[in-house]
């Protein structure tokens, strides 16, 4: 575990010195200001509108950084040849991948939680009450991003960053397609019905990213049950473990 933590520290140090850190801070400030701007219009239910808009933006941001960082992490190390001295150490490739993922996950979680805190502050400023539930929502967005990062990392162990990013985005989109959408776009007979069947079949073996999106429950003040949240956490961790295991199998026999 010590080796993985050392790689995680290396990854975190590298990420913290990229311009991305400032982009995250800027985005957090924007999220904190959005409720004030929406509030300025004075429309009814502006608190809910603010939460809805901010949580939607947070979801996109989480997906964006997960894809961007995870797609470039391993191929970047291989391309720049910075991976050679690391893997020549008495450390397995699995430990390297786990370390890489832990570093990415820590960065993604930190960034998303920072933005979540900015949303809570922004919404709290207009409603005069801090809503801790927004942080729970942000934490689940972070978990969703980490699952997506693990999926991307799996592709990135065998392909380049662009292909890995596109493949992971495709997984995210297909997994998020509702039955109604599939029926709407692929309605018909012959090839179309076969395509619809295929998409539905593929969907069943992909992670369900939508379950992490608690926007509706947060916007409409529905209760968040601890058991449900724990089940979501276990579901996310199971997917992360599975993806890392598969990534280890792929990367373990890959010539560098």
């Amino acid at each position: 575990m010590g080796e993985s933590l050392a790689v995680a520290r290396l990854t975190l140090l590298e990420l913290s010195r990229r311009q991305l850190a400032w982009v995250t801070v800027f985005f957090a400030v924007v999220l904190a200001v959005i409720p004030q701007l929406i509030g300025a219009f004075g429309m009814t239910g502006f608190e809910r509108v603010s939460k809805d808009a901010c949580l939607t933006l947070l979801g996109w941001f989480a997906i964006g950084i997960a894809l961007l960082l995870a797609a470039t992490a391993v191929p970047g190390d291989v391309e720049r040849r910075t991976v050679y001295p690391l893997l020549a150490r008495p450390m397995s490739r699995d430990q390297y991948l786990v370390g890489k993922f832990l570093g990415l996950a820590a960065w993604i979680a930190g960034s998303v939680m920072l933005c979540g805190a900015a949303i809570a502050l922004g919404c709290g400023a207009i409603s005069h009450a801090l809503e801790a539930r927004l942080l729970v929502g942000a934490a689940l967005e972070a978990l969703k991003a980490c699952v997506l990062a693990a999926v991307t990392l799996l592709f990135a162990t065998r392909t380049g960053p662009v292909a890995a990013g596109i493949a992971a985005l495709a997984v995210y989109i297909i997994a998020g397609l509702s039955d109604a959408y599939v029926g709407f776009f692929l309605e018909g007979e012959g090839v179309l019905s076969l395509a619809a069947w295929l998409v539905r079949a593929v969907k069943t073996v992909l992670p369900d990213f939508e379950v992490f999106h608690l926007k509706n429950a947060l916007v409409h003040d529905e209760p968040l049950r601890f058991g449900y949240l724990a089940a979501l956490a276990a579901y996310g961790l199971a997917w992360i473990s599975g993806c890392l295991l598969a990534a280890g199998l792929v990367f373990g026999r890959h010539d560098l």
Partner: protein
């Protein structure tokens, strides 16, 4: 335990054959030179030794353990050709991470390793602030961090200026004196000739030779006559054979039948005869002779 043992090693990248079944051994305490033209398979062999590339057939063992295993990598260190490091980190941060990966808990080892390669004052500099030579020295520092018994270097002199090359040679000489086994690839044949106990010559994925350096540098039938004298003497000897300079001296290589004639000429022109020794083949001659032979067969 034999530090490196390679047997029937083959590697194909798709349809391209990089190694065609090579065998060699490196003994403990040896400085072993691995030479060959570009594309000969040197880096592939080194990457296999370090577990970065997997062989198609054959085996490679480090201290008796299969290459790539954690045990094999425990006592060895590797410096890749033109090593790259995360640019935003400081030297100290990077070394601390490598120390942790090597299982070293004593942080002073990082400072010591930096001092050893003359980068102590730059410990807090970021990698991006270093010159090429400094990067190579830093690479050596990370390799020496765990005090390895086997050091594997891929073209360590690549891109270094003469001062940095001399520093590198000094470090390697120091390691040799401490009994560390050093395996390195290089294109600088004079360095290999000077530093190595044994060498292997690789060409087109085949091992052309693997022998102690003294066997590669066999005496020839010629004698080397070393002398000092003026231009007139040199011009006179040039008529017998090519005269080359060696520092302040001149050296002419002549056959045994002509040696008396050369010595007489030096005396007649009031030159200083310094020594007459059997001429040894240089590594360069041996290398190009083997390559020419291999290309003729191909």
């Amino acid at each position: 335990m034999t530090p490196i043992q390679v047997s029937g090693l083959k590697k194909n990248y798709g349809s391209r054959v990089a190694l065609r079944g090579i065998d060699f051994e490196v003994s403990a305490g040896d400085v072993f030179g691995f030479i060959g033209p570009n594309g000969a398979g040197k880096s592939t062999t080194i990457k296999i030794l370090c577990g970065l590339v997997f062989p198609t057939a054959g085996s490679a063992r480090i201290q008796g353990h299969p290459c790539g295993s954690r045990e094999a990598r425990r006592g060895m260190a590797y410096l890749p050709e033109l090593p790259a490091w995360p640019e935003s980190l400081t030297l100290r941060e990077l070394l601390e991470i490598h120390a942790r990966l090597a299982g070293i808990s004593d942080r002073r080892r990082c400072s010591d390793a930096l001092e050893q390669v003359g980068l102590g004052p730059r410990a807090n500099s970021r990698v991006r602030e270093l010159s090429k030579g400094m990067l190579q020295r830093f690479g050596l520092a990370q390799a020496l961090l765990a005090e390895p018994s086997l050091l594997v270097l891929d073209e360590p002199a690549s891109g270094l200026d003469p001062v940095a090359q001399k520093d590198l040679k000094d470090v390697l000489a120091d390691l040799r004196a401490r009994g560390v086994t050093v395996f390195f690839s290089s294109h600088v044949l004079t360095d290999v000739e000077r530093m190595c106990d044994r060498i292997a010559i690789l060409h087109g994925g085949k091992l052309l030779a693997c022998a102690p350096m003294r066997d590669m540098l066999q005496p020839t039938d010629d004698l080397a006559v070393r002398f000092r004298g003026g231009d007139f003497l040199r011009a006179r000897l040039e008529k017998m054979a090519a005269v080359r300079s060696d520092g302040a001296d001149w050296v002419v290589d002549v056959g045994r039948a002509a040696v008396n004639e050369a010595v007489d000429a030096i005396r007649a022109e009031h030159g200083d005869l310094l020594e007459v020794t059997p001429r040894r083949r240089s590594l360069e001659e041996a290398y190009f002779g083997l390559l020419a032979g291999a290309e003729a067969v191909a």
